[in-house]
Amino acid sequence: MRKLIVAATAALTITMLGGTSYAQDTLKIGYIDPLSGGGASIGEGGLKTFQYLADEINAKGGILGHKVEIVPLDNKVNPQESLVQAQKAIDAGIHYITQGNGSSVAAALEDFVTKHNTRNPGKEVLYFNYAAVDPALTNDKCSFWHFRWDAGSDIKMEALTNYMKGVPSIKKVYLINQDYSFGQSVRADARKMLAAKRPDVQIVGDELHPLLKITDFSPYIAKIKASGADSVVTGNWGQDIALLLKAAADAGLKVNWYTYYAGGAGGPTAIKQTGLDHQVFQITEGIPNGGYQPAMDFEKAFRAKVNMSLWYPRAVNEMRMFKAAAEKAKSIDPVKVAQALEGMKFEVLDGGEGFMRKDDHQFFQPIYISSFGTLKSNEPFDEEKTGWGWHPVAKIDTQQTIVPTTCKMKRP
C-alpha cells in the first residue's frame, strides 16, 4: 500500500515539478516572490513590472538575440520555500533569479546561491536583488553572485541625513522602528549619521516595536507627543506604517514623518485617510512626478498597460543594466555577466548616473526625498486613486549616498 502511494506521489511529483520544458533560445529569469498569501499583492505587482520589462526588451530583439522570459515562483515570503523554488528554477535550467521581498529570504537565497555555485562549478546562478535592503547583504554576508539595485537601508539613511543637514527646522527627532534587523539598522544608522552631520539635533526618543504585532499605536504616539519631537524617522512598512500614521492623526500629532516605505501598497490610501497632507516623506530611487521626461513617459506607458504605478524604478535599472552587461560581455554566461556588471556605470531611469560598486555589488544612484499630498498642476500622477501623489522635495546625488563597506569579496 505504502509503496504504491509513494510511487504514485513520486510520479506525480515528476510530472508537476520537472515536467515543464523550455525552449533553448529563451533566457529565463526566475522571479521568486510571494504570489499567494498575505504578500501576494506585492509579489504580483513586482511580477507584472518584470514581465513588462521583459516585453520591453523582447520588443527590441531580446538580449543578444535571446528572448527574455520571467518564470514566476511563489515563495510565500518563507526562506525555506524560497530555497525549494530556487532549486526548482535551477532544475529548469534557469541561471538568473531575482527576488526582493524580505531580507530573511534574501539572506537565505544569497547563501544558497553561493553554496550552489561553489559546489556546482559550470552551473553558476546569479541572484539579482531588487528590494531587500539589509546592509548585511553587501557587507558581512556579501557574495560575488549577488547584485543589489535597491539602495541599502544605510545608503538611504546617508541620503536622508544629507538632506536633513540642510533643513535647520529639524531640531528634535524621534526614531520608531520595527524590532528586527532592518528596523535596527535604520535606527543605528540614524543615530550615527545624525550625530556626525547634525550634532545639534536632539534624538528625543528611540523606539523599537515588534514587527507586525501592534494593533494600536496610540501608546507610542503618546510617547512621541510627550517627547516634543518635530520629526519622526521610521523604517516601518505594511500595516505598521499605516496604523502608526492613523494613530498619529487620531491623536492630532503634528510632526513630519520621514519614512522608507510609506509608499508601499496600501500606504498612500492610509495617508490620504489620515489627511496628513505633505507631512509624510519618503526616500526612494525615483518618483513618478520627478519631472525627468523619459521617466515620466515610461511611467505613463507603464500605468496605461499594467494598471498600477511603477513601484520599482530599480527593477527598470536592473533589467536594462542586465541587458547592457550581457552585451558588454557578449555572452549570457552568468560568470561573464557578473564580471561585466562589476563596476559598470549606467544612466538610471530617473536621470543621472549610477554605478555598480565592484567591492560589494551594491548599485549607487541618485536618491529622492518626496512628500505625499495634494498634487501641483505639473504633477500628473496620483497613487492608488487617492488624488494625492508624490511631490519631489530634494534630490541627493549619487556621490552623496556612498557609504563604506566591510565586504571581502571572494571571486571565483
Partner: protein
Amino acid sequence: MSDTATSARDLPVPARGQSLRFYGIWVIAAIVLIVLPLLFSSGSSLTSFSLIGIAIIFALSYNILLGQTGLLSFGHAVYYGLGGFAAIHVMNAVTAYDWPIPLPFIPLVGGLGGLCFAAVIGWVMTKRAGTVFAMISLGIGELVASSSLILRSVFGGESGITTDRTALPHMFGWSFGPQIQVYYLIAAWVMISAIAMYALTRTPLGRISNAVRDNPERVEFIGYDPHVVRYLASCFAGLFAGVAGGLTAINFEIANSAYLGAVQSGLVLFATFIGGTSYFFGPILGAILVTYLQLGLTNLTTVWQLYFGIIFIGIVMFAPGGIAGLLMMHRPLVRSGTLGMVIPSYLLALVPTLVLVCGVILGIETIAHYTESQGQGNVIALFGIPFDATAASTWIIAAVMIVGGYAVARITWRRIVDAWDRATTDARDRGHLA
C-alpha cells in the same frame, strides 16, 4: 498497526505469518526509500523526497500527541524549530572547534534540543488537556516565535543562522554536498525515527497514553498520573520533532524564525489529521500528501489555502479518521471478501462526484481570477481547457456542474451507504466484524 491489529499479536503465541508480514512492511519501506532516487533522480524530485521524509518524521512526532495521547497542539513547530536551531549551532561549533562529530549524528542534536525544551516547558503546558491545552500550546508557540526575534544572538534575527554542512567531518567519504547524499541521510533517519516511534506505541507508556486519550479521569484510578503521561508523551513528541528540525537544518543549511511559527505548526496539524490519527501510518500518508500538495498546488493556483481549508473541513466532517481511517474501514470487507459489493457503487458515484469537484474548482478559480486580475489575463487554463473568467458561460458551466453534480452525486452516495450496509452485514455474518 491499529489497536485491533496489534491486539491480535497479544495472543499468547503470536502467529508466525503475522510477524513475518509485520517485518515485511518495514523491509519494503526501506527498499522503497533506497530505490526511489534511482528511479527519479532529478534535483526537484530529490528535494521533494527530502522534504517529504522530514515531513513524515514531523507528522509522526505530532501524532504522539494528537493520535496517541489526545493532545491537540497548535504549537508543535516550537520543538521542530528549536531542534533546527540546536542543530545549526552545533554544526557551526563542530566546524569552528573541529569536534569529531560527523554530520549524520547532527539530527540527534536537534532531537535533544527539542527534548530539552519539551522537558522544561512541557510540565506547565500539559497541566491541562483538551481545548485548554490547545490554547496554551498556541500561546506558547506565539511566545517562542516572538522571543526568537528578540534573542538575536541565538536565533539570528529574522534572517536566521546559516551553516555549511560540508564543513563537518566526512563519513564514508561522503561530503553531504550533493542532495542525493542528504536524501539518504534523511531516509535513514526516517527509518530510525519511524521504527522508534512505532515501538513507543507498544510500550507500557504508549498504551497508557492511549488510555489517557480515551479517559484521563479513569487513568487516575488505575494508579497513573495523567499529567505525567501527557508530559512524557510531549517529551517524546519534542524529541522526534527536534530530529525533523535538525534534518531540515541540514537540508537547507539555514535555521530561522519561520521554523518556529504558526504556519509550520498548522501544516503539521493538517498533515497528521488529513492522514488519519488513529493508525500509525496515517500521518505518513498525510505528510506525503500535504507536502506534495504544498509543492505542487501552490504553482497551480493562488488560492491553495482555500483548498487546504476545504479539504480539512471535509475530512473533519465526513472522515474524522482521515485517509487512513477511510482505507482501514475496508479491511473487514477485504477479509470477508465482500469488498466487491461496494466497488460498483463507488464507480457509479465517481462520475457525478468528479463533476461536482470540477465544478467547485472551476467556480473558485473563476471567482479568484475575476477579482484578482480585474480586466486582463482572465483566461484560466483548467485541465488544459481554457475558460474566460469574465464570460457568463464559464459561470453558468460552473454553476451547472456544481448543482447538477451534487444532485446526482447525492443519489449515488445513498447507494454507497446501502451497499456498505449490505457488505458489512455480510462481513459480520462471516465473523469479520465485532
